[in-house]
Amino acid sequence: MPANPTISEAVARSVARHGGRASQLVQILREVQAELQCIPAGALDELARSLSIPRVRVESAASFYHFFHAQSHGTYEILFSDNIIDQMLGKREMMQYLCKLLWVQPGKLSEDGLLYVESTSDIGMGDQAPAALVNGIALPSLDENRLELVAGLIREKKPLAQWPQMLFEVSDNVRQEGPLLGETFEPGSALRKVLDRGAEATLAELDASNLRGRGGAGFKTAIKWAACRRSRGEDKHVVCNADEGEPGTFKDRVLLQSHADLVFEGMTVAAKVIGARHGMVYLRGEYLYLRERLEAVLARRRKAGLLGSGILGETGFDFDIEIHLGAGAYICGEESALIESLEGNPGKPRNRPPYPDTYGYLGKPTDVNNVETFACAAKIALHGGAWFAALGTPASTGTKLMSVSGDVKRPGVYEYPFGVTVKQILSDCGAGNAQAVQVGGPSGTCVSWREFDRRICFEDVPTAGAFMVFSRERDMFEVARNFAHFFARESCGFCTPCRVGTSLLRNHMDKLAAGKGSAYDMVQMKRLMHIMLTMSHCGLGHTAANPVVQTMEKFPDAYERRLKNLDFEPAFDLDGALQTARLITGRDDDWAHIVTGQP
């Protein structure tokens, strides 16, 4: 059977663009899908042939990522962000409205092959929710007017390039600035200091700053850099983790959109310190709209001698950065899963040790840091470690960018020195009657109104920066249920406790929501939590039960309310199920019945 020529051409073009490297598979799959509207079976065959890898390897990557699909999603694919914040601000209604306008059903390609509408995990637009992606490009701040405009454009089959730009305008919404967001940064200024000071002394400054990773785990950055610097070999890599997938987080979006120089400069400082020549930004697929401007910043930096060979005239200081796009997978925020994804594989966390500092990208020493961490590192290179250490608390130095969303008057990004209280942030963002704040996203901490004096820092409430506010009108059970769905959707499936546990937990929550819950479900959920926490392979599984555990503890009413009417009966009608047996045996005495309340 001759292969479809269009498929062969699309595959050949993309493979050639990536030099026939199988490690570029995820990038190649993205490009092939962009041309063909899907990744058909024929493309898998062609890719396997032209990359000289087994077909199963191509299929396993193509079937792992949410954004890849084997069937066409039409000319326009619209994915609505499905975080609880989007839902609270009208996501369901907006999605229904668009479907009604265009006569389509969610999850089903329209009959004319024009449009596909579905939900997706949080797309990082919590401050301008509800939001969606059209062919991967963000459409923030959706309301009925905008959707009517969108529906019209789709009916007219207008290419995206001709859509009004205002539909795609993503605001920064910076509400409070500190040293990171407030000062103007001159590109190259930090690198000049590094060249004056030397790599060793720069590492000492970073150590003195006590900077800890901003991605959530809070590992000390200087230890990572030092380990990578010590690792043998010429071939080292610097990776910027811009897979900002934790629902409710969007501060990296702002850094990349308006402070990209600071981030790239931080990566270049890291390259100098550890001795790397190659850098990569792992940009989450949801931030596709940022790619062009990031490429423009990179081009400008190359021109200015801040990237490329002989940076700032120093012979031997060679470093450049390329951008890799994700394809919809929360798990790729975990650094070893991210590296797997960079290599073109499904994003499944590796067994560790060895850690990336000795065995990372393609088996070479690799330093992986968060976007904000690199921005901080650039500032430390510029102003010194002592300057940074003077901000924040002793164990949590510097400032932290908080992504504030939900029931607040002024959603957006706020920069605070570490140690700020939850109460302070609530007052600044105009949260009138908050009952709880989910700090750090679904995997983080649910802070109830009784605990608003708690502080944002590694000593108390650690966070990568999400700050979702829920007023007293909100149902905290529904918040937890949304998060349970999120984890079930995002589990990579590698280990038993997380793969099965997240789905079991979601099912229990749905059962409760349907009014069929019993006390037994509560016991089972607690048992599941323990197993997921203690037996899972990575952080996703360890924390996946957190939202349920914490809301159960802090808002027990939200759960008990759902059990009361049931008198703790199982949803299944046990006595009814015995009817057949009674008919067969001809019995109808007391002992042939199960009566609630009797032993």
Partner: protein
């Protein structure tokens, strides 16, 4: 790095050689740690999590963590055994396992581990997923209903048979075993019934056709002795073969 030395499992001294995992050292010393995705001679994988032990107070998979001098490992504790029972139950409910009607009954490691950990019935709700059965291969049957995603066949085919017949496709609870052919059918791959990938399947997912009842039920491997004994004896035999 750590050289040869000893560590303890449940208070018992276990000698190890450089590079040994906890699982390897334990097995050599005659201590059984329940497992499904691990087999002697295979690269550590660590996905089923049944072999989770407490290592100096923190949980880790015995099959992936290397033994170190002076380590304190707990294996046979009520808490760990209860969690292992739960994991086994999870594997049962996510697939469609029908032990009494399964050709592999008595030879199946999932069933045998179920007995070992004292599983009476899965205490979780069954998913009853719709999974494909593939009978296209003349000699081998692939029944995905019974697959536990241990990836032993994936690894055996890639590393030992040099064929890459299998891989895991999809993600999360929808992860499934996929095969290396444009049709997606096993019959269109170069798999042979004599491949290591077929032999290594611990459950009834990959079966050689027409051989299912060569050994009568009741006289099979795990009918006669518990998996804890069989597993250690197999490992001993393998070591003797390698060194003998």
């Amino acid at each position: 790095m750590s050289g040869a030395g000893t560590f303890t499992i449940d208070g018992r001294a276990i000698p190890f050689s450089e590079g040994d995992t906890i699982m390897e050292a334990a097995t050599a010393a005659g201590v059984y740690i329940p497992h499904l995705c691990h087999q002697p001679g295979f690269k550590p994988h660590g996905s089923c999590k049944l072999c989770t032990v407490s290592i100096n107070g923190r949980n880790g998979a015995a099959c992936t963590v290397r033994a170190q001098e002076g380590m304190t490992v707990l294996n046979d504790t009520p808490e760990l055994n209860d969690s292992r029972r739960a994991l086994t139950e999870m594997l049962f409910v996510e697939g469609n396992h029908t032990c009494p009607a399964c050709e592999k009954s008595g030879e199946c490691q999932l069933q045998a581990v179920g007995y070992f950990v004292g599983m009476m019935t899965p205490r979780f709700d069954h998913f009853f997923p719709a999974r494909d059965l593939d009978a296209s291969h003349p000699e081998v049957l692939l029944d995905r209903n019974r697959c536990i995603l241990c990836e032993l066949c994936v690894r055996a085919s890639r590393e030992m048979d040099g064929k890459s017949v299998f891989a895991i496709g999809g993600r999360g609870i929808r992860a499934r075993l996929i095969v290396n052919s444009p049709s997606g059918l096993l019959g269109d791959t170069n798999l042979s019934a004599r491949d290591k990938a077929v032999e290594v399947c611990p459950v009834g997912a990959i079966l050689v056709k027409r051989r299912a009842y060569e050994t009568p039920i009741g006289q099979r491997r795990y009918d006669r002795r518990p998996i804890s004994e069989v597993s250690l004896a197999d490992a001993r035999a393998l070591r003797e073969k390698d060194h003998g």
